[in-house]
């Protein structure tokens, strides 16, 4: 087991006052709290900071940490002295992002040493809820999917040693689920103690970024480039959607930014969302004599067309 330098985690001196420790914790917590921060490693960072504060924010626990910690540096191999923690009793319930501690923390303060300290461990306590994020593709939401999730659950063996058991769940991802929605799997969190109920497992659904489609609620948007003549004269074309190809008709005299709605082709549901194709116009390069001649013809035919018409009317120009 590695020794954890909680002072370094909080960025304070070993001689810091309780007030300084609290201030540093709050500052780091505001920065890395997973509900606030979008940093990819925010949750890891916050857990480390919360654990360090749990150890150092409580003067009694800090004294215990200092007594075993003197002479240790971060990342060194660490073994707590045998029987060192008799005389301390830490217990309590905690949940949420700061609710899990490292093996190191638990070897010092016990497994149930949470933020809230109670004189006695509750006889019946509900198990903690667990959270996991599941990344799915847009097509998974269109069709429904099954995802395999591996959970690591600490469990005491016959000799009382904690081991991490891994448990695999097959979870059904319902059709039409949206980005950011949660699934609750009742009873799949930590087991309770006594008559306490097991916690729940919450799965947050996140859509993997898609190069072609953008989702707003149940509606799905796609950018559809068309040639100038397709926009001007109208055209029928096959368009790929997350759920297969559909036939789309671009009406004549369409301009860029025009939204064409394919009713009911968004995320499935009751009601289903719509799929919107947003037109953009791609210009063919004038890289052959024939293409150049065609552009020249077009200029002649549309002699009065002025693309900067609106700029001339703007005041001050």
């Amino acid at each position: 087991m590695e020794f954890k330098d909680y002072y370094a985690t909080l960025g304070v001196e070993r001689s810091a006052t309780q007030e300084e420790i609290k201030r540093s914790y709050r500052k780091l917590a505001r920065k890395f709290h997973p509900d606030v921060s979008k940093e990819p490693d925010a949750e890891e960072r916050f857990k480390a900071v919360a654990e360090a504060y749990k150890a150092l924010g409580d003067p009694e626990r800090r004294a215990a940490y200092d007594s075993v910690g003197s002479g240790h540096q971060g990342n060194q191999e660490f073994h707590p002295p045998p029987g060192w923690d008799s005389g301390f009793e830490f217990s309590g319930a905690d949940a949420g992002f700061g609710g899990e501690q490292s093996e190191f923390f638990e070897s010092l303060f016990g497994r149930h040493a949470g933020a809230g300290r109670r004189a006695q461990a509750p006889q019946h306590a509900n198990g903690a809820d667990h959270h996991a994020k599941v990344r799915i593709s847009l097509a998974d939401s269109y069709r429904g999917a099954t995802r395999s999730i591996t959970l690591q659950v600490p469990q005491a063996d016959a000799a009382g040693h904690l081991t991490l058991q891994s448990r695999q769940l097959e979870v059904n991802i319902p059709k039409g689920i949206r980005d950011g929605q949660h699934l609750r799997l009742a009873g799949q969190g930590s087991p309770g103690t006594g008559r306490g109920m097991a916690g729940d497992l919450y799965l947050e659904i996140a859509f993997a970024p898609d190069p072609h489609f953008r989702v707003e609620g149940r509606d799905v948007y796609l950018d559809l480039p068309v040639a100038p003549w397709e926009a001007a004269l109208g055209a029928a074309m096959a368009v790929a959607t997350p759920d297969g190809s559909v036939e789309l008709r671009v009406p004549p005299a369409s301009s860029p930014g025009r939204k064409l709605r394919l009713k009911g082709k968004g995320l499935p549901g009751n009601p289903s969302g719509d799929l919107y194709a947003v037109l953009s116009i791609a210009l063919p390069p004038a890289d052959t004599d024939a293409a150049k001649a065609a552009y020249a013809e077009l200029a002649k035919a549309c002699g009065s067309f002025d693309p900067r018409h609106s700029m001339k009317e703007a005041p001050g120009v």
Binding site: R26, R30, F97, G98, S166, Q168, L169, L183, R184
Partner: protein, 107 residues
């Protein structure tokens, strides 16, 4: 890591169709009901239903309540400050979404 256990599970989708009583919401958030009533009084949670006997909370309220409780505990916030933080986070998310959308259009 040792044992493997295999099972297929159907989750409950937490959406606007989910209905939770105050007691159920408290259990799902591991919070006492008075704490949740404080969140309602501060406007963080909005109960639904017409008369007091049929009042309920939907899935959005569950997510909202859990987020509020996490922020309160981890950042040591008072209820009024939590309400402000949640509103600012909503605004931030809205602006991020606008930015994403305009980035998408600019491509």
């Amino acid at each position: 890591m040792s044992d493997y256990e295999q099972s297929t599970i159907q989750g409950v989708l937490i959406d606007e169709h989910l209905r939770l009583t105050l007691i159920e919401l408290g259990r799902a958030c591991d919070a006492d009901t008075q704490h949740l009533i404080d969140l309602v009084d501060e406007g963080i949670l909005t109960p639904r239903g017409d008369d007091p006997s049929t009042v309920y909370f939907d899935g959005q309220a569950l997510l909202r309540a859990r987020k509020a409780l996490r922020l309160q505990r981890d950042l040591e916030l008072e209820t009024a400050a939590t309400a402000l933080v949640l509103e600012l986070l909503d605004e931030l998310e809205r602006l991020r979404e606008l930015l994403r959308r305009s980035d998408h259009l600019a491509r």
